[in-house]
Amino acid sequence: MANSQPIISMYDQPMWESIRAHGWKLQQCDDCSSFRYPPAPNCPHCLSMSSTWKALSGKGKIISWVIFHKQYFDNFPTPYNSVAVQLDEGPIVISNLVGEEPQGSWIGREVEICYGEDSAIGTVPKVRLSK
């Protein structure tokens, strides 16, 4: 087994810098205002090459979740969850829910971004239930 590592293309680097600074930013298209995830050379909606890195509001909703019972990575002992969160800005991101877990269905629960430290990766954005 080994540790999991992020895929960092040249477009991802500014995003991970913003995550390390605890202020997750994504590219917002200068022409159509849509947010881009994963970071990319152009806007998939209008193909504009022009964008500005903007801090996320930090809010979103869970749209699905899973619990891993098989271990794939040293830095992810089981059981652990992964959640799909639709950010208020539009994109869907995969994250881990930390802290209190909802009873019953997690879908539709409001979450906010927080930051965790992974021994192998460094700072990683996570989510927790909104108060």
């Binding site: 990575f73 991101v93 269905s105 990683v124």
Partner: protein, 394 residues
């Protein structure tokens, strides 16, 4: 939408072949390595050639599966084709028909081999990490989310929420396919299971259980597809030859927008692609759902089945849980699905074994698992953004 130009009854499958999944698997589990991917491909090719009853030199087209190199496979099989390509199972069938229709080839060999078990290929975890150029889900590695199973577990969790389908209803897939496998001498897992056993099996990535995951084994599959007119003449000339199985229709529609952030999966369950694909394939084949005698569905994970049954219109939207439980998808049910046991119980040959099963069902060669009066078999797959459909028939 635009209508695909007609590929109906352009190509016919005249031969199928496969390696011995069962004995090779036993040898691999015992620590042996019977063949590599090329070896399995060669075995399957030779059997398909014998099944077709043609000489190797009649072949003028070659399509090779994604696991082996095109040029090297051609070299090993000694084929200099007029036309060649590399493609997965479903696209290989479509490309063969396209090559035949355009006159680029007349008799096309489709060849696949994979030593995934003996080579200890992992489809999740650290070894999947090199896949970022073509498998977008490894992008989520910082959150421990890289396996294919997790992707489908995430999709199915939301599907359950939206439709009310339950885990026990999903279990109908594993139970039905194990029943089919129990009647298939080529199947690796032949002991039937119950819903209770399914529910008691451990989770791998919850909500998916062990029995929702495909097998990982070594093997090879080959098909030979000939221009339909020539196939008919070949069969008439040698009365001992098997009846050609026609490709009546094909369809394809892909969803790539938002792929890495799982939008087409989580928000649409690939439904728009499946509907577009269904429209193409049924229109081209000129048949309706009621004419389909058996369905084969690419099932790397069991949940492909309910998603496809709704997406391709075999039941009403939101009704698939009840459909699987009450109407039934086993050989004893209303709509037999994955009649050989599929990837869950027969063999994981990345969709290739489903083509062979479809052909054999239409030929009436399936023995104890034969669907009565089987005239049309519909194959479909929804993998990595691509929705592909094929209707085989008499």
């Amino acid at each position: 939408m635009t209508t695909a130009r007609n590929l109906s009854k352009v190509g016919a499958v005249i031969g199928v072949g496969q390696s011995d999944y069962v004995s090779d698997h036993a040898r691999v589990l015992a620590g042996d390595k019977p063949h590599d991917s090329y070896g399995y491909a060669a075995i399957a090719f030779n059997k398909a050639l014998a099944d077709a009853g043609i000489e190797r030199d009649e072949i003028d087209g070659l399509i090779v599966g994604p696991t082996i190199a095109y040029e090297r496979t051609g070299e090993i099989l000694g084929i200099n084709p007029r036309w060649g390509s590399q493609a997965d199972a479903m696209l290989a069938v479509i490309e063969a028909c396209m090559a035949i229709q355009t006159g680029m080839a007349e008799v096309v060999a489709l060849v696949y081999g994979n030593d995934q078990r003996s080579a200890a290929i992992q489809y999740g975890g650290p070894e999947a990490m090199g896949g970022n150029m073509f498998l977008s889900y490894v992008y989520h590695a910082p959150w421990g989310f890289t396996s294919q199973g997790a992707l489908y577990a995430m999709m199915f969790r939301r599907f359950m929420e939206v439709t009310g389908c339950t885990e026990a209803q999903l279990g109908e897939v594993a139970v039905a396919q194990r029943l089919a496998a129990s009647l298939n001498p080529h199947a690796l897992m032949r002991k039937t299971i119950t819903i209770e056993q399914y529910m008691a099996s451990r989770y791998i990535c919850e909500p998916l259980h062990l029995f929702d995951y495909c097998l990982i084994n070594d093997g090879g599959v080959a098909l030979i597809i000939a221009e339909a007119g020539r196939a008919k003449k070949m069969a008439e000339k040698a009365a001992t030859r098997k009846k050609p199985v026609l490709v009546h229709g094909v369809g394809r529609y892909d969803l790539n927008r938002g792929a890495t952030s799982l939008e087409p999966r989580l928000l649409d369950f690939y439904r728009p692609a499946q509907e577009a694909c269904a429209e193409q394939v049924f229109n081209m084949a000129g048949v309706e759902h009621k004419d389909i005698d058996a369905v084969q569905i690419y099932d790397s994970f069991s949940c492909h089945v309910p998603l496809a049954l709704e997406g391709y219109g075999y039941c009403r939207s939101g009704d698939v849980g009840r459909f699987m439980q009450e109407d039934g998808i086993s050989l004893k049910g209303k709509l037999p699905v994955n009649t050989g046991g599929g990837h869950l119980s027969e063999t994981y040959m990345q969709g290739w074994n489903h083509q062979v099963e479809a052909v054999r069902q239409v030929r009436g060669e399936c023995g104890a698992r034969q669907v009565e009066d089987c005239r049309f078999v519909h194959y479909n797959s929804d993998v990595a953004g691509k929705a592909v459909s094929i209707i085989y028939g008499t």
